[in-house]
């Protein structure tokens, strides 16, 4: 193991390390801690110039209450949910199929199709922006959640295919051969043999795509406009414009917007990390 485990080193270093950990963490998360602190301060603290001292009173309930009851935040959150969940389902379903096709079968264009997906996944968003916006307008889907979802599904399929295909490659191929010898139809091999084995990959992709899409800002701005379809990342800018200089409310709003992916990460940590490393480093 590298570096040398602290248990094997001198007592002084052990103690230093143990006390260094929390200090380093606090420094690392300082900007976030500041926002959390802001979000529980009453408005008066800011006008009195009390930015960094402890709150004069705990106003957390009041601040978060206003975010949920008096602002458009719940609506934006709901939009985000209705954009993120269908995208996750769609992208995972499509890529389970493409990954199966590219991972199991040998045919001439296999690698070419695979690299098409991989290359497309690296493309800068801006080269797609004008045509995709135009396409969405022409289909009458501009400023709808459906328009955003369709694009997200298509784009995420690139990354998901890369992931699924590599995962399926690593499965024991004998299982599929055995099923073929038994005369099982190919689509049944997919459904009954491969799909059950893909559960970890599906879980990993689902959390990862959830986070990506929830946090998307660029496409939200390009393809949607108003409160009826904008997700929370875009909504928070209108929210902030409405509560300009009301730091306690802006902080509370930001925290509310950030919580769902954070919760997702903590609940599904193992899968999340497996997904991030593309399954390449075990």
């Amino acid at each position: 193991m590298f570096p040398t485990p602290v248990e094997k080193s001198s007592r002084t270093w052990q103690l230093t390390y143990q006390s260094l950990l929390p200090v380093a963490l606090i420094l690392w998360l300082l900007p976030l801690i500041a926002v959390a602190l802001f979000s529980i301060k009453p408005a008066g603290d800011f006008s009195a110039g009390n930015y960094w001292n402890l709150p004069s009173q705990f106003a957390g309930f009041e601040n978060y209450g206003r975010v949920f009851l008096e602002s458009d935040m719940p609506r934006y959150l709901l939009n985000s949910v209705f954009i993120t969940i269908p995208t996750v389902i769609g992208a995972v379903a499509l890529s389970a199929m493409t990954g199966f096709a590219l991972g199991i079968y040998r045919f001439k264009l296999n690698l070419a199709v695979f690299f098409l997906f991989v290359a497309g996944n690296f493309v800068p968003f801006q080269i797609l922006m004008v045509p995709v916006r135009d396409l969405t307008l022409q289909m009458g889907l501009y400023n709808t959640k459906t328009g955003l979802v369709l694009f997200h599904i298509a784009f995420q399929t690139g990354f998901c295919t890369l992931f699924m295909r590599n995962f399926i490659r690593a499965l024991p191929f004998e299982l599929i051969e055995a099923a073929r010898v038994e005369g099982v139809a190919e689509w049944r091999i997919f459904w009954f043999v491969v799909l059950p084995l893909m559960k970890p990959a599906i879980a990993a992709l689902a959390v990862l795509i959830f986070t990506f899409i929830w946090n998307d800002y660029f496409w939200a701005v390009v393809l949607t406009q108003g409160i009826e379809s904008q997700p929370v990342t875009a909504g928070i800018t209108s929210f902030n414009a409405q509560y300009r200089a009301a730091y306690h409310l802006m902080s509370a709003g930001s925290i509310v917007a950030a919580i769902p992916p954070v919760a997702m990460f903590f609940l599904m940590q193992k899968h999340f990390i497996a997904g991030l490393t593309l399954g390449a480093v075990k």
Partner: protein, 303 residues
Amino acid sequence: MATQTEQANRSWYKRNEIALTPWLFLIPGILMFLFYVILPVFQSFYISTLDWDGLGQGTSVGFENYRELWHDPAFYTSLRNNLIWLALYLLAIPAGLFIALFLNQTVTGIRLYKSLFFFPFVISQVVVGLVFTWFYDPTFGLLNTFIGWFGFGPINVLGDPRYVTYGIIAAGLWPQTAYCMILYLTGLNAVDPEQVEAARLDGAKGWRMLWYVIIPQLKPATFIAFVVTVIGALRSFDLISIMTNGGPFGESRVLSFYMFEVALSEYGFRMGYGAAIAVVLFLIMLCFITYFLYSMYKEEKGH
């Protein structure tokens, strides 16, 4: 008669099942991907030769957009900033490795520490941008409170053309370092303990051990870290849009942001000109994409 053809069909399908199945499974994915990703790339090339406001018919202007770009100082500012982003963003890789080495221990509670260190990557860049805007605020920001203790005057990081890009990059490095850290933590898990012990017996320690034994074994993690960092640097848009909106005086623009500004903002809807900027960005990216694909191709052939 009908049933006979059906049977013939079915047996034709049966006979070619292995060859046909992959395509049946690929069709929905490929169609979506072609429609929304691959074809738009080519359309953008075409649109970049138009003068088009995005509504009516565009008029063809040949390479006029590119000629204008050649003489556009804002384009060069953006290009320069893109290069700064690219160079400095790569610092996330050694920084991530450093934190990973720091956290690669087995003391109690270390799992929680690792997760909390990863935190910045999970939250949206929009929130990161807001948080850092306040962090830099000249009147109450933590940064200026801090340097004030040492008697330095307030610096308006985001309002000063000299510092603004670096300030935004620092904000971007925060989540990116967390990402690289997690890649290296998983990589360090896979380092062969026997090799480390053997090297230790040979007297390798500290830096030499890290450089000659550990880093070579972390190569897959480094490759992924490099790929995601380069893409992240060239895609930088959210932070700039939230923190400065390109300002002051357009000094914090990058190509991706300038393109958006030209095509979809109050400065007018110049789709053709925007597409031309996007094409330049795409060509820069293409160098990297080619390298990534080439590396992956070699890997594939190696198997």
